[in-house]
Amino acid sequence: MTLTDAAAAWPALTVRGLVKSYGPKLAVADVSLDVPRGSFFGIVGPNGAGKTTTLRMATGLLRPDRGQVWVDGVDVWADPIAAKERIGVLPEDLALFERLRGRELLEFHGLLRNMDPAVIATRSAQLLDLLGLTEAADALVVDYSHGMRKKLVLAAALLHAPRLLFLDEPFEAIDPVSARAIRALLEDFTGANGTIVFSSHVMELVERMCDHVAVMVQGRIAWAGPIDVLRAGGSLEDAFVALVGEPAEREGLSWLERSSD
């Protein structure tokens, strides 16, 4: 997909003033972000910080109470069709049509986007091969392991060659060999000027892969920008803990100590 000049002036993703509350609980409180084109953008934060809610609102799956989201300058909530053509999504809960076989599910996702059947077949075969799913491609998804499901959804998210990928905890429950394959795939994607926004708890991964990072705490962005600036020579974990706040000093569990005999 080529970009018009007008769209090229926009960042890949622009978020302004997103707010979402569930009853009295404010899940996301006034989040604004700019994700530069071609960047590998990590959203980190403790459990319950609002990462998943933010990603769902940015992808058009959950309506925000307030705020706006633009993908390549297209308003996700005003022109959902044009916005959704540009994005691929790997949601956290991985709810799938489990009674389809792996290959059928990819075909389903492709046809939902009215893609050419021949293109779907070629790309599916390549993605399944790259992610090590070829052997399981003809098994029902209900029989897949968690890691296999994650890889399959990733394949479905990439099938239509989106410009922007949203990945919610993509490396959770993935074995090291598959993780390496996925990393290579994602690096190719950003290398081709694609943009990736992903959430994770794993600091080492974010540190290794991301060039930009946003730290979310209690529904707000505590810090956002190039990862090197946040780290300032130290580790991401130290910078993260400094932002989030360390738990209070506590006594050790003395009874866990054993004598050596």
Binding site: K84, A95, E104, L111, D138, A139, D143
Partner: protein, 530 residues
């Protein structure tokens, strides 16, 4: 150790009550259990004046034991103390585990209800102090037998129940079980006149008297008749069965705890043909075709959708059977009964997105096109249900020799289905709700409240009202015109009408939901249990 298990069970019951859906479930269970307890007690106690009281006891005790043996298998996963896997990491001996879980199983609404129901025998059968003691022993031992039998069967079947196919089977079995009462009623009214009901009870009692299920009841019956020695013997037999079941239970418990879940089946038999089956090559290769093909695949692979299909075959059979049981000669118009096959599908049309559940996100994130989604879904229903109605019409025609009515019947099916789908589409987007979780057939979802049910009933009524003109038109024309003429006119008018209702309903629904897809997704996603 036994105390810990019993306290755990009490704690689970109490914590379950603090959840909103837990309380609703508990209330439903309580109502059902009270009903069964009162029914059982009054049947047993009320038989005191009847000569067949002992036979009644045998049947009631037998039904109670059989029910205990069957139901927990179907409801696997609904009781947290049921799955021994949850206790696997605790350093417990097998004896501790078995006695603990056994004791915990005796705590609950169902055991209490069973105890109350069976206690009716103390009122209905006691004639002396000795018989009172023996019958009391029979009641207690029967309750123990019920509990240990259900636990043993679950433990033995854990490997099957844990597999996907096993769970699929239980969902299917549950649905078919729901169909049995009308069938039984039909047989009952056909084979008995009501006056010889007691004769039937005696007949059943004679047959089951010597099966382990009824030993407790037989002991009570013999005690009531003064045959104390045989009563004691039967009680010993019940106690021995309990011992034997405990032994089998503890053996299978150990096996269940140390065996892994069956691995995912990687290889699949048969040729892989892609999402759209070869027989449906005419489906378009776009969003409509994808949704239709997916739904058709689901009709054959998902037990929740397969069940109504089986219902679609059974319901016309029942209707036909009922009509035959009244008269021997069938009018040729009986062929029209085949149309009843589409009625079970009426329920399926009312929550079409609910059947997709949380997986609907893939459609929502792939662009907003609810019109294509609805057409695809409707197409799938039509392609599955209309042939079913056709098969059922052919069967009805064969029985009543009503072949002349076959074209009319086959032609009316799509018209009626158009009306059902038109209303169903609107209700599907206006009152969507989350379906129970696939893992447990008895799982209950909050959100599927009274409102959705009322909307569903209202929709069924609207469907009925809108189908009515077709019925009137058909009846009037068939009566006034030669059949061939009537058939042609009815088919043209009815199908134009059905198509009109469908297009209207679908357009209203698609326009209605276009901006509200995230809300639809939220409504059909089952809540995480919390």
């Amino acid at each position: 150790m036994v105390g810990t298990f019993v306290r755990l069970k009490f704690r689970l019951l109490r914590n379950g009550l603090t959840l909103r859906q837990g309380a609703t479930l508990f209330a439903l269970g309580l109502i059902g259990a009270t009903f069964l307890a009162v029914t059982g007690f009054s049947i047993l106690a009320g038989s005191r004046t009847s000569e067949e009281a002992p036979e009644v006891a045998i049947v009631v005790f037998g039904i109670a034991t059989l029910g205990w043996a069957i139901f927990p298998v179907l409801g696997f996963g609904t009781d947290e103390t049921l799955d021994p896997q949850r206790l696997a990491t605790l350093p417990l001996t097998r004896r501790q585990l078995v006695t603990g879980v056994f004791a915990a199983s005796l705590v609950g609404v169902a055991p209490l209800a069973t105890l109350v129901a069976l206690s009716g025998a103390l009122v209905g059968l006691t004639h002396s102090v000795v018989s009172f003691v023996l019958i009391a022993a029979a009641v207690v031992l029967s309750l123990l037998l019920c509990v240990v039998a259900s636990r043993t069967i679950v433990a033995v079947m854990v490997p099957i129940l844990r597999s996907r196919r096993g769970r699929d089977f239980t969902i299917l079995a549950m649905t078919l079980l729901a169909l049995t009462p009308p069938l039984l009623e039909l047989f009952a009214t056909r084979h008995t006149d009501g006056s010889d009901f007691q004769e039937t009870v005696v007949e059943i009692a004679d047959r089951v008297r010597y099966t382990p299920f009824a030993w407790g009841g037989a002991a009570a019956a013999n005690a009531s008749r003064g045959q104390y020695a045989s009563a004691v013997l039967l009680l010993v037999a019940v106690a021995a069965s309990i011992g034997l079941l405990c032994w089998i239970w503890s053996r299978s418990l150990e096996r269940a705890l140390t065996t892994a879940d069956p691995p995912a089946t990687g290889a699949t038999r048969g040729r892989m043909s892609g999402l759209i089956p070869p027989s449906l090559r005419f489906l378009p290769h776009n969003r409509i075709g994808a949704v239709a093909a997916k739904d058709i695949r689901y009709f054959s692979r998902d037990p929740r959708r397969r069940a109504p299909l089986i219902g679609a075959m059974i319901v016309p059979a029942v209707a036909l059977f009922a009509s035959f049981s009244r008269n021997t000669e069938q009018p040729p118009a009986t062929t029209l009964l085949g149309l009843i096959a589409v009625l079970p599908a009426a329920g399926l049309t009312l929550n079409q997105f609910g059947l997709d559940g949380a997986a609907l996100w893939s459609s929502v994130s792939a662009g907003n096109d609810p019109r294509a989604d609805l057409i695809g879904k409707n197409l799938a229903s039509l392609l599955v249900m209309v042939p079913l109605a056709g098969v059922s019409a052919v069967i009805c025609a064969a029985f009543s020799d009503g072949w002349a009515y076959l074209p009319l019947t086959l032609g009316l099916a799509p018209a009626i289905f158009g009306v059902l789908l038109g209303v169903g589409d609107v209700v599907s987007v206006r009152a969507p709700y989350a379906m129970p979780d696939r893992r447990s057939p008895l799982a209950y979802n909050p959100g599927q409240g009274c409102a959705s049910m009322l909307a569903g009933l209202g929709a069924l009524a609207v469907q009925g009202v809108l189908i009515f003109p077709i019925v009137v038109l058909t009846a009037a024309l068939v009566a006034a015109q030669p059949l061939a003429v009537a058939t042609v006119i009815v088919l043209v008018l009815a199908n134009v009408y059905g198509a009109f209702i469908w297009v209207c309903g679908r357009n209203i629904a698609a326009r209605d939901i276009w901006w509200r897809l995230p809300e639809l997704l939220d409504a059909v996603s089952p809540r995480q249990a919390g």
